[in-house]
């Protein structure tokens, strides 16, 4: 399947942090033809194994998205919500949202709220219910909702706009790696689609303990510095290739993994750039300090407007990331 089709498919699945059942079912279906073994662990991480005799390599891409969770139903039928992950109230007002059961609504700020300092508990969801009673027939406290915005790509271009490219783009990348792998691969590969990354790298921590890998590679989006007025908290640009992670606020990547990824990029003529992210972490943060430590790195997709209802990546970068992950999966790696 083409990356864009995978993104569209994954975006119709429900999977905010802690409620990833929907997206996991889709991932299971898509990964099944290529898996030697497939399990879901206690927290809900989907672990897809492709057996090999070499070192154990764990690729991780989180399948959860940020979103909302209903905390309170008002007498007038409006919903109060809490945040699942890094939702910024200012960035989401008047955004359409969707519940697992298909119910839709819009995020609205209270009229008296100060927009400059807007807090999520000064916002509510309007689902068109006329009373508490009517609302309670549609939702319960604890139900979750996600952005319900469009996926599009302009004709002839390669830049895709979509909610939840963080991190469905990386799920799509790893699926395409699975699809392209030869029947026999030297390394023992674990493709882990993790849960609860957006609320604090929670799923990858237990997944990594269970897999006990020799090498870890987190595939995730990263911030860019190529937009007008950028605060330069990222170092990457759209369209300049796969980003090899050097560090972010959760991890300093193992130099051997960084070097190997750069060497593979040179050999295979894959366009790459370096990723140093000052604000934000990835599953690499949890993986590298598992048990007695794991040699860990990251492959990042440069992404604009992360965590907003309209994120943007360049598909040529995503393809470069897939090429690089495919090369690492088959690379001869030092035994640990």
């Amino acid at each position: 399947m083409e990356l864009i089709e995978l993104i569209e498919t994954l975006n119709t699945a429900h999977g905010p942090s802690g409620d990833e059942g929907g997206v996991r079912a889709v991932m299971e279906h898509l990964a099944k033809p290529y898996a030697d073994e497939m399990t879901a662990d206690t927290l809900g991480n989907l672990i897809v194994r492709k057996k090999g005799s070499g070192p154990k390599v764990m690729f991780a891409a989180h399948m959860d998205s940020i979103g909302f969770i209903v905390t309170h139903i008002e007498k007038e039928g409006f919903l109060r919500v809490g945040r699942l992950g890094g939702v910024s109230p200012k960035e989401v007002i008047y955004t359409p949202v969707r519940f697992k059961n298909g119910l839709r609504g819009v995020v609205v700020p209270e009229e008296k709220a100060d927009f400059g300092k807007l807090k999520l508990d000064e916002c509510f969801l309007d689902i068109g219910a006329r009373s508490e009673e009517e609302a309670k027939k549609l939702v319960r406290v604890g139900d979750t909702a996600v952005y319900d915005t469009a996926v599009f790509i302009n004709g002839g271009g390669s830049q895709v706009f979509s909610p939840y490219l963080d991190n469905r783009i990386s799920c799509a990348i790893l699926l395409s790696v699975l699809e392209r792998l030869p029947a026999h691969c030297p390394n023992d590969l674990y493709f882990v689609f993790t849960v609860q990354e957006e609320v604090g790298l929670r799923g990858s921590r237990t997944a990594a303990f269970g897999v006990d890998p020799d090498y870890g590679v987190a595939v995730d989006v990263t911030d860019v510095d190529d937009t007008p007025g950028s605060e330069k908290s990222g170092t990457t640009q759209l369209g300049k290739g796969a980003a090899i992670k050097v560090m972010d606020s959760s991890v300093i990547c193992h130099p051997a993994v960084v070097a190997k990824l750069e060497e593979l990029a040179r050999e295979e003529n894959i366009p790459v750039q370096r990723d140093i992210l000052r604000a934000g972490g990835t599953d690499a943060g949890a993986i590298h300090i598992t048990r007695s430590g794991v040699r860990t790195g990251g492959i990042s997709v440069p992404c604009r407007y992360i965590h907003t209802p309209a994120e943007a990546v360049d598909l040529t970068d995503a393809l470069a990331c897939a090429d690089l992950a495919l090369a690492f999966a088959q690379a001869e790696l030092e035994e640990c």
Partner: protein
């Protein structure tokens, strides 16, 4: 069980100095335990066999520690500078009595006299480093006879029932969870249960880390308290929960997204057995579940709490009916766990 809650609340066990509470619980638990141990972090871990041999499958956890103060400096005049242990709202600490160390030296948290306070200062809550504890010592030397740097202090508060079925006490967080577990220990259990009375929850769920790692259960139920803001002037969606409306069963808080199936199991058990229940209608706070959940390969977690007003203050308020319902619902939960394995 109410008497037991009161006895437990009257004990002092600030995070890192839980001995008094641990000794009391150990003595109460020992006659019913199949094994009992204190681990390196100070957790008390009690194992009791039940009808069905399920080994380490189910863990119940409640923390023994409470918030308090710790002495950081003794001034030349014999006053004590201190820091808070755990999350204490400075606004509630000022002017309150404390007792320090094993000798229970009495002291008062004091601050600058009102006639010395500037207009600007009046508008702000004084910083912790401008507060001090007065233990009545005439100078540094006299103070040093009574306390040393690192001496812990606990709030003072006699547990009292008042109003419509309410209890006022310090440290209801989380002696009520400890009381529920001690009551269950006395009973014939439907399956094997490990009871972890944890240390250092208030400083970052630290004890639970060691407890969960060594026990490695499949399922853990954390018995806790949670902050209630059902107060005048608070909008409904910020009230979180309210004492008297039943045990709080959580789907999510600031530290954990709970196992959905266990949340629903507890909710359905409450509804089927006509036990009142509520959930947290605001995302805030956290407890030992956050650490237990992420131990090793992952553990399924649930939490049941008593709704408590003024949670970390010298006088917190909970509903005695909620405490009793927590015990009933936990009992039903264990029955359900036994049926399902």
């Amino acid at each position: 069980m109410l008497e037991l809650v009161k006895e437990l609340c009257a004990l002092n066990g600030v995070s890192g100095a839980e001995e008094e509470v641990r000794d009391f619980i150990r003595a109460k638990a020992a006659p019913y335990a199949d094994s009992i141990r204190t681990d390196a972090l100070g957790n008390l871990i009690v194992y009791k066999k039940g009808k069905k041999p399920t080994g380490n499958k189910v863990l119940l956890a409640a923390h023994m520690d409470e918030v308090g103060v710790i002495v950081t400096k003794i001034t030349d005049e014999g006053f004590l500078k201190f820091d808070f242990v755990g999350g204490v709202d400075r606004r509630v600490a000022i002017g309150k009595p404390v007792v320090l160390g094993e000798k229970k030296v009495p002291g008062i948290i004091g601050l600058k006299a009102i006639h010395l306070v500037s207009r600007e200062e009046e508008k702000k809550v004084p910083k912790t480093d401008s507060l001090y504890i007065d233990i009545g010592a005439k100078d540094k030397e006299a103070a040093e006879q009574l306390v040393e740097l690192g001496t812990y202090g606990a709030f003072v508060g006699t547990p009292e029932e008042f109003g419509t079925g309410l209890l006022k006490a310090k440290a209801i967080d989380d002696r009520v969870g400890c009381a529920v577990m001690l009551e269950l220990l006395k009973e014939d259990l439907p399956l094997d249960v490990t009871f972890a009375f944890t240390a250092q929850e208030e400083v970052g769920t630290r004890g639970a880390f060691g407890a969960a790692f060594s026990v490695t259960p499949e399922v853990a139920l954390v018995l806790e308290t949670t902050t209630a803001a059902d107060l005048p002037g608070v909008e409904d969606h910020r009230k979180v929960c309210a004492p008297g409306k039943g045990p709080v069963i959580s789907y999510m808080d600031g530290g954990t997204i709970y196992d959905r199936e266990l949340f629903e199991t507890l909710r359905d058990l409450a509804e089927d057995n006509h036990i009142p229940w509520q959930t947290k209608e605001y995302i805030a706070g956290g407890n030992d579940a956050r650490t237990i959940q992420r131990s090793k390969k992952g553990i399924r977690v649930a939490a049941m709490s008593a709704a408590v007003r003024y949670l970390h203050a010298p006088a917190s308020v909970g509903s005695t009916a909620d405490f009793a319902d927590m015990l009933r619902l936990t009992r039903l939960f264990l029955d359900r766990m036994a049926e399902s394995c």
